[in-house]
Amino acid sequence: MTRIYVPRDTTALSLGANEVAEALKQACADRDIDLVRNGSRGLFWLEPLIEVETDRGRVAYGPVTSEDIPALLDEGLLDGQPGHPLYQGPTEEIPYLKSQQRLTFERAGIIDPVSLDDYIHHGGYVGLRKALAKTAQEIVDEVKTSGLRGRGGAAFPAGIKWQTVLDADARTGSSPYSKRKFIVCNADEGDSGTFADRLVMEADPFMLIEGMTIAGLAVGADTGYIYLRSEYPVAHQILNEAIATAEAEGYLGDNVLNSGKAFHLEVRLGAGAYICGEETSLLDSLEGKRGQVRVKPPLPALKGAFGQPTVVNNVLTLAAVPFILAEGGEAYADYGMGRSRGTLAFQLTGNIERGGVVELAFGHTLRELLEDYGGGTASGRPIRAVQVGGPLGAYMPESQWDTPLDYEAFSEVGAVVGHGGIVVFDDTVDMLDQARFAMEFCAVESCGKCTPCRIGSTRGVEVIDRIRNNEHRDNNLILLEDLCDTLEDGSLCAMGGMTPNPVRSALQYFPDDFHRDSTTASQATSEEA
């Protein structure tokens, strides 16, 4: 029997993976094949990437369409033969993948995401078993040793957050939840240019489930929620299937692996609000309210979900925990530089030839990612600007591409690593349009609680339009700077506070785009226009 893998993550599906799987099934109706729907390896430019198991390991072909199947079979697909132009060789030898330092994405694309047996066979649940033999404090200490920092963007040390929740007195909360603590996974991955959370959930969901269970043991929480954005229907389905399996097999429930400890897990869907990726908005949304930002203090660690002590961590933060418990905090801390320990999953997106997930230790430069991994733009034109860290991150010009990817080094040049999203633009981009969009996005997605963000963003769009139209341009440029100051200093959370990042960086590094003759100012268009 020949085993063939056809991915089922959102990106592979968006490029026709289901049609490829169907075509394979039909063409191989009288042959003995075992078709596995794996997650993706994250080499998205090769999707749909199908793999065949051979004596030499798994062999890859991509990007495959359903029309390619007959020719691929003729050229010896089932034996892993190299004849067809889509042949990529042994998957593990593809340089893009081979040179990565995969800890969190170690299993991504290798296993069937909803097979618990696959997960366990590939090292899963070793961390939980080790955690069950430790005290709560010992688990927290292990996470502290690892140096793991929150991967959602704010980079707060996870161990310190967990310690706060462990030490918090849950009895002060109001009924009916008093004495309880919660683990909340922030899976509201709304930043454009990011999909690493999605890939974890679609390719290796048990890792997240295990990480949350360990977090529950560490702080004494018996319930976890995964707050998932509604834009991720595939992740939703896969997570629910994995949770049901974990419950049925005793990895979740009232008595986790017969330890006498309970941990229950539920997926809650967001409803299309970017701001709910901010942890306090998320908590209000989880409670069934408008997703408005809360004033801190109190910290969610002390007064979080339903008024109780709560760990709120990003998907990637929690997904790193099983490795840390299985291999030890030191093993994780061995990767990285300075105070940025471990690895980060960078996501190469936008106008890029080879887009995908690149998991590396901190310290590589942006240029290595753009050129060595990304291979430049998909359009073949020069790269002009790169936005790192989501819609609230700065646009970086070429002079900054040698900055090492490290939280502190980026901070020094006024940029953010954030969640590791890297969006590439070629030289057709109009940076005034991008600055305007940053303000427009803030206006659409502001929760409305604080005035600088709610009103300032709309005023920002208007001011930029005046600059474009050359109406009192110099004065409006001063006004825009002033507005950015107000947003930065006066906003309650990062939405308003960081919207100036893309605006200011566009102004500072691409000033020509703000000084065009209004009659020649053009809308940014891409090569497909």
Binding site: S14, G193, E231, Y274, G288, I352, G355, V423, S526
Partner: protein, 178 residues
């Protein structure tokens, strides 16, 4: 209880008993409102105004609170939507791959703007800010399927497929099932 009869699209056909059962089913869990609203949206495609008092009474909160939550979230339309929901990603990674011209094409082809429904009730067009498919943009979501590297031509084919494949014989003024 007063049910707004003026809301012709919803008043008469509102599966009132079903909503009450749905509210009761979720009531005991912490933070039940979003799960209830999702459940209604999944069934009807939108949240009819007449559902508001039913939810408020079931959860013992005010109608204003329910309305406030519905109006906060982009997902919860308060008017009937088309048989197909098309979302075009407008976020940065898709901008870098030409989504600005794709959204213009979508609006021109369908003859509607964002948050509008075609007169034949086939399509509702919505913006979306990121579908997490950023390495292979521009992306659109048609109902629950996400599509990558969508050119104007491919979008036309998707729209064509959506209207010609299922239920072409359905009467124009069809009602939500109850």
């Amino acid at each position: 209880m007063h049910i707004s009869a003026q809301d012709s699209s919803a008043g008469a056909d509102l599966p009132r008993d079903w909503i009450q059962v749905e509210v009761a089913a979720h009531k005991a869990k912490p933070g039940p409102l979003l799960p209830i609203l999702h459940s209604i949206r999944n069934r009807l495609g939108y949240i009819p105004e007449a559902a508001v008092p039913l939810i408020a009474e079931g959860l013992q909160i005010t109608r204003a609170e329910v309305h406030g939550v519905i109006s906060f979230y982009h997902d919860f339309n308060t008017h009937p939507v088309g048989r197909n929901r098309l979302q075009v990603c407008r976020a940065e990674a898709c901008q870098a791959r030409g989504c600005r011209s794709l959204e213009a094409h979508a609006q021109e082809t369908l003859g509607i703007g964002y948050h509008q429904t075609t007169p034949d009730g086939e399509f509702t067009l919505e913006p979306v800010y990121c579908l997490g498919n950023c390495a292979t943009g521009p992306s659109v979501r048609l109902n629950d399927d996400i599509h990558g590297r969508v050119t104007p031509k491919r979008l036309d084919a998707l729209l064509d497929q959506a209207t010609t494949q299922p239920l072409t014989l359905q009467p124009l003024a069809e009602e939500p099932e109850s």
